[in-house]
Every structure is written in structure tokens, then in C-alpha cells.
Amino acid sequence: MSEHIKNIINLLRKDLLLEVRQQYTFYGILLYVTATIFVLYLSMGQPEGPVWKGLFWMIQLFICVNAVAKSFLQEGRGRLLYFYSIAGARDFILAKLLFNALLMILMSGVSLVLFLFMLGDPMGHVGYFVLISCLGGVSLSLVFTFLSALAARAQQGAALMAILGFPLVIPQLMLLNRISTIAFEDVLQGGLGWMLAIMAALDLLLIVMAIILFPFLWKD
């Protein structure tokens, strides 16, 4: 058990070190975030609450697709085989899921700051929204990490990942949209506990499926 945790931490450290050194990937995503939100601001101005919320989650979706797409697509075949043979497929996918979750939390934070800065602040409880955006970022990243593993094996690239991914994230986006209303108004959101529970259950389902199915993917 502790060996698995050590493996996962080492793989995570490897990914983090790579990001810190090959800084063009990290700055690339950051630039994408900034440019997208800026274009959005130019076209929409400072929209009201519901529109702001919807736009935020849409932007999160596209940021996630772009940020996660590279996680599997950038590694060469030989190197992947090396990792699988020393660490096992399960530890590898857990490390990837964890890394992409952390990346998305960071990107969600950055995009939230930019949104508040440029598109105004129509909400009452920013604190709630920070937490919700972290949850949303993590959930989206789980889906797209697994799909990027699938798409990388099929050698189809980011386009296929988007095609596969959009239907799968629709339930999550709908749930996130409803959950975020608590940050905007002081209304009692009916069924909030249930919605959060379902989000958590969906995330858990995704993680379990990824862990079970990923070992079948890498056998080539």
C-alpha cells in the first residue's frame, strides 16, 4: 500500500517538475485562459448573474479540454511503457488524475480572478463560489483525463476527446450551474445536499471506472 502511495507521489512529482521546467505548456494554458476571458469580456461586457454563471462554466469546460489534452498526448510511446512497467497502470492513472485535478484547481482560480476582474462581480457569496469552482474544475478534469487516455490510444487527438467528452460532462455542468446559484442569491436552493452528493458520487464513479478500465487501455 505504501509502495503505491510512494509511486503515485513520485509520478506526481515528475509531472510537476516537467511543468515547472517546460514552462511553455503552463504559460500556454494561462495565455489561453486570459485571451478567452478577454474576448468574452469584449463581446459580453458585464453580464448579469445567470449569464455570468453560464459563461463561467462554459469557459471552464474549454479550459479543461485544453489543459488536460496535453497530459497524455505529449508523452512518447516508449516513455509511457517505461512508466507502466515501473509503476503499474493504476498508480499511473491515479497520479495523472491527481495532477490534472491540481492543475484545474489552479486554472479555475485564475479564471475566477479574471472573471471577477473583467466581467464584474454580480454575486453575493464569493467564498462559496471559490469552493464550487474548485469542485467543478476537479470534476471536469476527471472526465477529460480519462478521455484523453482513450483518445491518445486511438491517435485521434484533442478533437476526438472533445467529441467524446461533451456529452459526458453535460450532467456535471447542469449540476454545477444549479449548485452555483447559492453563491449568487440568498434563496434556499432546494435539494442542494442531494446535488452535491450526486456530484461527489459522479466523481467517485469516474475515478473508479478510470482505475478499473485504464489497465486495459495500455496493453498494446
Binding site: L150, L164, P171, L175, G191, M195, L205, L217
Partner: protein, 223 residues
């Protein structure tokens, strides 16, 4: 088993019974739905049949991942295709029903949305498979995605619509489901419609499977 004719004749008889009893039989008079409740034999029965086919498809996908025999992949694909056809028909018959009872063909009802999402996920399965040229890889990746897509059926169609207010029965809006199904309708529905549509789908799938197996045998013998 695939070639025997008894269950095919049974299928034709059951469907004939469903259609005739469905349109000519007596139905209880419920408010709003009135005569359109007959759609129970078509729309709901098709969804039940679709669940059966997609379950069979995922079972073969799991078998393929464990034993890698190509025939399992063929079974899995053909049952998934039949399931997708029945699911699409379910959505079409459902919107038709909605047009008469809820006032609009598309009402943003959670179950409708969930059904469309589930179908989109399966359409993506077909697109995904087509994009992989290598046969073995296609089978393996297809099987993995099939399991994933099946697992996503449950939250989208069964769980989420029951948690929110819905025009469909079973949602939080307080629309009772099949608790008080009339005995006459139950006979036609359980005895005729569900087995009839299920057997029809199995018939179509087995025909396609036999064709695919023949093609594969032809291809490998020619070389």
C-alpha cells in the same frame, strides 16, 4: 439458437398482438393523457428493450476484455447499434407523445435531456470506433468506452431525472409511476409489448451478427 424459427414467429405474433390490442383494446381514461396512454406500449417498451440490448452489449464488452475473442466484439457492437436505434426511436416516440400531452415536442424535461445525453454518448461510441483503423485496438478501446458509456446511462436517465422536478412519472413533481397500472394495460404491456420489442431487437442484432461473422470468415479465407 440463432437459426431457430420459433422465437421469430413468437416475436411477430407478440408484436401483432401489441399493435392490435394497443390500438383497439380498452384503456383507462386518465386526465391529460387520455388515449395517448397507448404510447406506453411503444415508447416505454422500447426504452425497456433498449436497456436490455445495451446490457447485453456491455456484458459482451466485459467478456471481450477478459478473453479477446473477436466474436465477442461483434456481438457487443451489434447489440449496441440495435440499442442505439431503439433509444433514438424512444426519443422520437417520446417527443411525439409530449407534443400531444405536454404541449410541445421538446419541453426541457430532465428525463428527455438525460435521454438525449445518453444517446449522444452512444453515438460518440460509434464515431470513436470508426476512427481507429487497427481491428484489435478498435475492439479493445471500443469495449472500454462501451463499459464507460453504460455506466453513464444510470446517472443520466435513471437517477438525475428522479432527483429534480420532472414532467415524467417518478420525478419530484409528484407524478406517480406505474403504481396503479390498469390490469388490461399490464397484460398487453408486460405480456406483449416488452417481449415483442425485445425479441425484434434480438432478431435484428442476430441477423447482423451472422452477416458480420460470414464477412469475417470470407475475408480470412480469401487470404
Amino acid at each position: 439458437m440463432l437459426r431457430q424459427t420459433w422465437w421469430k414467429i413468437l416475436c411477430v405474433l407478440l408484436l401483432a398482438y401489441t399493435v392490435i390490442a394497443g390500438f383497439l383494446g380498452s384503456v383507462p381514461a386518465k386526465p391529460i393523457v387520455n388515449e395517448t396512454i397507448r404510447n406506453l406500449y411503444f415508447h416505454v417498451a422500447m426504452w425497456m428493450a433498449m436497456m436490455v440490448f445495451l446490457s447485453i452489449s456491455v456484458a459482451y464488452a466485459v467478456l471481450y476484455l477478459r478473453k479477446s475473442r473477436p466474436v465477442y466484439d461483434i456481438y457487443s457492437l451489434e447489440y449496441a447499434k440495435v440499442g442505439i436505434v431503439f433509444g433514438t426511436l424512444g426519443i422520437i416516440t417520446g417527443s411525439e407523445w409530449a407534443g400531444f400531452t405536454w404541449g410541445a415536442f421538446w419541453s426541457n424535461d430532465p428525463k428527455q435531456l438525460g435521454a438525449v445525453i445518453a444517446m449522444l454518448i452512444y453515438y460518440a461510441y460509434l464515431v470513436f470506433r470508426n476512427g481507429i483503423p487497427d481491428i484489435d485496438k478498435r475492439a479493445r478501446l471500443g469495449a472500454v468506452y462501451n463499459i464507460f458509456a453504460f455506466a453513464m446511462l444510470f446517472p443520466t436517465i435513471w437517477i438525475l431525472p428522479r432527483m429534480v422536478e420532472s414532467l415524467h412519472p417518478g420525478g419530484m413533481g409528484g407524478n406517480p409511476a406505474f403504481n396503479d397500472l390498469d390490469a388490461r394495460m399490464a397484460l398487453v404491456w408486460v405480456g406483449g409489448a416488452i417481449p415483442g420489442w425485445t425479441l425484434l431487437g434480438i432478431w435484428i442484432a442476430t441477423l447482423r451478427i451472422r452477416l458480420a461473422l460470414l464477412e469475417e470468415k470470407n475475408y480470412s479465407n480469401r487470404r
